[in-house]
Amino acid sequence: MNFIKIFLLVSFLICCTSNAEQLEVYDFDGIEQYLKQSGDKVYVVNFWATWCAPCVKELPFFEQIQQDFKENVEVILISLDFPSQYKSKLIPFLEEKQLTSKVIVLDDADMNSWILKINSEWDGAIPVTLIYNKEQRQFYPQSFTYDALSSEVRKFVNLNP
């Protein structure tokens, strides 16, 4: 009996850990900790999705920022991809791009309940970006060029002690 259980468990782990396990999927409660971290870094949080062309276009800039400010900045990319497309779109995309920034996934269908908690200016269009440190935060309902993003991040980095 136990043997069967173990067998089932092991086969489950082998078969089902490959793809879905690579994604960190949260509801809004699970995401919140990433929106108010209290470390000494500057946190750059970008909401995006593989289906959002302007989001995909600016992703390399966020990657570059993570490289350029390794010591001081933590980039967090929050994907809003549909659960039905994790396997077909999101995972292949992440595998292809090999992003070095942290990627987490927000799956919380009751959007009206959490959009305002992220920022009162946000009407729900993406991309949007949140930059914050211990002292202050700024919300950007816009797309970024590398230069524009870098200059905003610099403002925060220079403020940090």
Binding site: F82, Q85, A109, M111, N112, I115, D123, G124, A125
Partner: protein
């Protein structure tokens, strides 16, 4: 005197803000004259019998809009006969989104057997007036004499993923309330959508 100044100041800012952000609840929505997928041109004033409208900015190419297609059609089936027809408007720049061309809109509408007008905002002049920023983005308008008063702005319901798991049907609740001469219970909601391509 100071009060007057303050009032003028406030009015100035209120106007500046509304000009920038489109309509808020209670605003009077402008009529339009936009091309439908059948080649005709459609205005709100064409609908003599209606009590109002469910204006939906939507498109073919946004996955959220696609997720809501059947529910938009269901809204029209349910409410056009009650005096609140759906008017769908595609706001995207079709050079950026060729999948939203008038031809593509026609194909999609035929395939899905849409029974509502599916108009194209070719000049991209209507959606900024309304303040729509994404697809889908709904405005429920109530007719008042010749004007159209904005009564609801936002999402269709609270679960884009699964129509069966919807708890709050924001648009239906708004229209039902208007049909009963009641206050709209939730007049503004927010949802993730695809930004309108300009």
């Amino acid at each position: 005197m100071n009060k007057l100044k303050l009032l003028l100041f406030t009015m100035f800012f209120a106007t500046a803000i509304s000009a920038q952000k489109g309509y808020d609840i209670g605003a009077l929505a402008a009529d339009f004259n936009l091309e439908n997928i059948d080649g005709s041109f459609v205005s709100l004033s064409d609908f003599n019998e209606s009590k109002g409208f469910i204006v939906v900015f939507t498109c073919n190419t946004c996955p959220y809009a696609v997720a809501y297609e059947d529910r938009i059609e269901a809204l029209n089936k349910k409410y056009s006969k009650k005096g609140y027809p759906v008017i769908a408007i595609m706001p995207n720049n079709t050079e950026i989104k060729p999948g939203d061309s008038l031809d593509a809109m026609r194909k999609r509408a035929n395939k899905k057997e849409f029974t509502f007008p599916y108009l194209i905002d070719k000049e991209q002049a209507v959606f900024p007036q309304y303040g729509a920023t994404k697809t889908p983005h709904v405005y429920v308008l109530q007719k008042n004499n010749e004007t159209h008063v904005v009564r609801y702005i936002g999402a269709i319901d609270d679960n884009y993923k699964d129509a069966n798991k919807v708890v709050l049907k924001y648009v239906e609740d708004a229209v039902d309330a208007l049909l009963m001469n009641r206050e709209v219970p939730v007049s503004k909601t927010r949802a993730i959508g695809c930004s309108i391509k300009i």
